[in-house]
Subunit: 209 residues, 2 copies
């Protein structure tokens, strides 16, 4: 009758380590717990994690890869619903990013902390982020082509600015800075979306075409 406790001896310790590591990162911060504590909480020995991950960095990288795939899938889904207008799709892209970060803050912190693991060494991280970056660039280029964004600025600079705004907004929330800007945590998502839209709209309506 009871399928639990799960038998970590038969194939699911790897995922259990990742899930528990995310839970502990959420509770304490991603550098405030030890692998030994993680093993303890799962009832395995201190050496067991090393059967599945070469080291701490490899565990963190695996978590980051899982989270990054989720971003890509979410973006693909949301783009599908966003219509054809490049500017609207750019907003939707920003909203996907915001929602992704706010729905899994612990994973966002891990993904964006370059010191936890070697980012350049993970093929899947590279691929997924590249895809999102390429989409941003293409949407900006399309928006410029149909006059929604100014052609006087380079595609790269526009894309970089928009990306930085989305990233900066999300980080300010994740780092707990929003209350200092009079934004209550409960209204963070709404405010972040609004602030991003403000930036996109400003550029869309800016002259210099």
């Amino acid at each position: 009758m009871r399928t639990r406790p799960p038998s970590y001896h038969h194939g699911n310790l790897r995922q259990a380590l990742m899930d528990e590591a995310v839970a502990m990162s959420h509770e304490y911060g991603h550098e405030a717990w030890s692998l030994r504590e993680l093993a303890r909480r799962l009832g395995v020995s201190s050496g067991a994690p090393f059967r599945h991950f070469a080291d701490r960095a490899a565990l963190m990288a695996a978590i980051a890869e899982e989270a990054t795939l989720k971003l890509r899938l979410r973006v693909a889904r949301d783009q599908h619903r966003a219509g054809a207008q490049p500017a609207a799709r750019l907003k939707a892209l920003g909203h996907s990013f915001i929602d992704w970060a706010l729905d899994q803050p612990a994973q966002f912190r891990i993904v964006s902390d370059r010191r936890l693991f070697n980012f350049d060494q993970s093929g899947s991280l590279q691929v997924h982020f590249h895809a999102v970056r390429e989409l941003t660039m293409q949407l900006v280029k399309q928006a410029q082509a149909c006059g929604q964004l100014p052609r006087t600025a380079s595609t790269q600079d526009l894309a970089l600015t928009l990306r930085a705004t989305a990233y900066g907004l999300v980080r300010m929330h994740i780092d707990g800075q929003l209350p200092q800007w009079q934004v209550k945590p409960a209204q963070a998502r709404k405010h972040l979306r609004h602030a991003l839209d403000l930036c996109v709209d400003a550029m869309v309506t800016a002259p210099g075409d």
Copy 2:
């Protein structure tokens, strides 16, 4: 003739610890070195740092406070040279922030990592950041008053968006993401300034007044 080696036994160990900690953070990353290693490099015992700082967090907080004061002084100096136009002063504020972060990346990382120490517990950090935040808000308000920024958007949302853009741009550089956006490290400062100006200009010229 030789005033060196400095006698850490007579009052300058505290500053030496801070300087060496910054140097090691620059070399290895701010969490990749130990207090014992720091003590070793300064030729003192493993317990000596605790004569000057209650714990690791207190050392990091002291470094952050020193760096934050520098930001405030730099902003004040640059504002003085920026003229009277609110939009120009907003750009100057952003440039001060960018220059500050790029001139001392290790300190920027420490300041913006909320997990290293209790941010809310440092009076001086609060005060200095509050001053910069207030300046941002006032400049936005002035810009709205003289028609340089739209009055349809709230002062808070405009300020938040601009601040997020500056912060996001700087973080992308600090986290090594700029090469992926076709920006060479040597041209980072120029590109970041340009991207920020792009955002300010877009808002300045946006209608809805």
